[in-house]
């Protein structure tokens, strides 16, 4: 519930900040509100870090899925560093004094965070693939792959508008130029996760994957619109894009919460089986009978 509230507040703040930037760019409220995302994202990624670490601890040592959650935790931790750095930069006035030097170093945590995220998602896919999920793709999946890849040149063409494209450091400029690809890779894996989610056929784990997919796709779409000159001509679309972009990081801890629910449910059930196994099995068979007794043979 807290996370959903955070998501809503972030979306409203993002949309409002965008509209205010268009109308009153030099207003103090506009300046402070446009930087509110640093604090909001820092909170969101702190929740994520805490939850991913707890989830990783629930997996056997050395398992691929444990590695996946740990990589997600690393991605969250680096995102916290990044937003902490950007928030400090705003408060210290570096956005005005050293925007192309010290401030542009934020690209390092940005890139690292995306790399860890992509690696975590690939590890997760690998774990599902080991049991036969996420190996067969349909025509719609290929269309999604194509659509996401189509965003790469769109973002790349607008790279001049990206955060640190004018950095004094060549390395930072290269890292910034790589951001379309680094964003596209997790989004491509999101398509795979979407397929896995469908193959799962429901359950708590599938809900977690759904939120993960939404997180990955939403931020790519938001960045595509915000990076293009399109939003300058249509303020409402710009506001909507920024609202989505600011809401997206909250979907990450929300996905973690849903995954954590799997552990909580399973632990509670396991404890019940330890206490009174006969009653639980009788209850289970009753569920089976109730669900299917009246169902005709297909």
């Amino acid at each position: 519930m807290v996370l959903w509230v955070g998501c809503a507040v972030s979306a409203v703040a993002g949309g409002a900040a965008r509209l205010l930037i268009d109308q009153r760019p030099d207003d103090t409220v506009t300046i402070w509100l446009s930087q509110a995302n640093q604090l909001l994202f820092l909170i969101a990624y702190s929740f994520s870090l805490y939850l991913w670490l707890k989830i990783a601890a629930d997996h056997p040592a050395g398992s691929i899925m444990r590695m996946a959650w740990l990589l997600m935790a690393w991605s969250s931790a680096i995102s916290i560093v990044r937003h902490g750095f950007e928030g400090t930069a705003f408060l210290a006035g570096w956005t005005e004094t050293v925007p192309t030097t010290l401030l542009s170093l934020r690209q390092i945590p940005i890139v690292l965070s995306l790399v860890f995220l992509a690696a975590g998602l690939i590890a997760m896919w690998s774990s599902f693939a080991a049991i036969g999920l996420g190996l067969r793709f349909r025509r719609t999946d290929w269309l999604w792959f194509a659509l996401i890849l189509a965003f790469v040149p769109v973002i790349f063409s607008a790279r001049e508008n990206l955060l640190d494209s004018h950095s004094s450091y060549a390395v930072i400029r290269h890292l910034q130029a790589a951001s379309p690809v680094l964003l596209a890779v997790p989004a491509l894996i999101a398509v795979v996760l979407h397929r896995i989610r469908q193959e799962m056929g429901g359950g708590q784990l599938a809900t977690s994957l759904r939120l993960m997919v939404a997180f990955l796709v939403l931020r790519l779409v938001a960045l595509s619109f915000l990076g293009s000159p399109f939003h300058e001509h249509f303020p409402a679309i710009g506001a909507l894009s920024q609202a989505c972009g600011w809401a997206a990081p909250w979907l990450f801890p929300l996905a973690a919460v849903q995954r954590w629910k799997v552990t909580v449910s399973a632990s509670a059930l396991a404890a019940r089986y330890e206490t009174n196994p006969a009653r639980e099995i009788a209850g289970l068979s009753q569920i089976l009978m109730t669900e299917h007794a009246a169902e005709p043979l297909k």
Partner: protein, 177 residues
């Protein structure tokens, strides 16, 4: 047995035995040598082989066309169990067949990991547990199946889910298959 399934050299029974690998090593070898050297019998055997291949292919297509989905098969299976138990109290039940116990475990984990994940992990655990036992889980390899299923669930859904499968699986008393 139809007598018109014959030619000048062998009766229908002999031909059927030959095609099935009988009737005995000595007679079979004699007939094989004859078929290899006799153009008429060789042609006859080849035509029968071609017909068998066509029939096999057609049967495969028919099976494919009438194949039931996993969901339909599951539904049929669980409905059968329900009907069989409609007169008996579940609480009085102490032993389950391996197939029944697997369905119960599946019902247990589906709300957590989903129907597809449950099916995939069970299938894989079955394959890993029955490689030397002609594909069936019995009382003898139930422990192995549960260990495999538990490990797979732990790898995908976490140790808590693996522990749940382990505890529930070993609580289910499986009858000798």
């Amino acid at each position: 047995m139809r007598d018109d399934f014959s030619n000048e050299h062998f009766s229908g029974t002999e031909w059927l035995s030959y095609l099935d690998g009988g009737p005995g090593a000595a007679t079979g070898n004699e007939m094989k040598t004859h078929v290899e050297n006799c153009p008429e019998c060789g042609g006859f055997a080849a035509s029968i082989g071609a017909v068998r291949a066509i029939l096999s292919e057609q049967a495969g297509q028919l099976r494919e066309a009438t194949a039931l989905s996993d969901e339909a098969l599951d539904s049929m299976l669980t409905s059968c169990f329900s009907r069989l138990r409609s007169t008996a109290s579940a609480e009085g039940r102490t032993r389950w067949s391996a197939s029944e116990a697997i369905v119960l475990l599946r019902v247990l984990v589906e709300p957590i990991c989903g129907r597809g994940t449950a099916g995939a992990t069970i299938d894989l655990a079955l394959r890993r547990s029955t490689a030397s036992n002609e594909g069936s889980v019995t009382e003898g390899n139930w422990s192995l199946f549960i260990t495999n299923f538990s490990d797979l669930m732990a790898s995908v859904c976490g140790s808590a889910a693996g522990r749940l499968v382990n505890r529930a699986g070993f609580c289910l008393a499986v009858a000798r298959g």
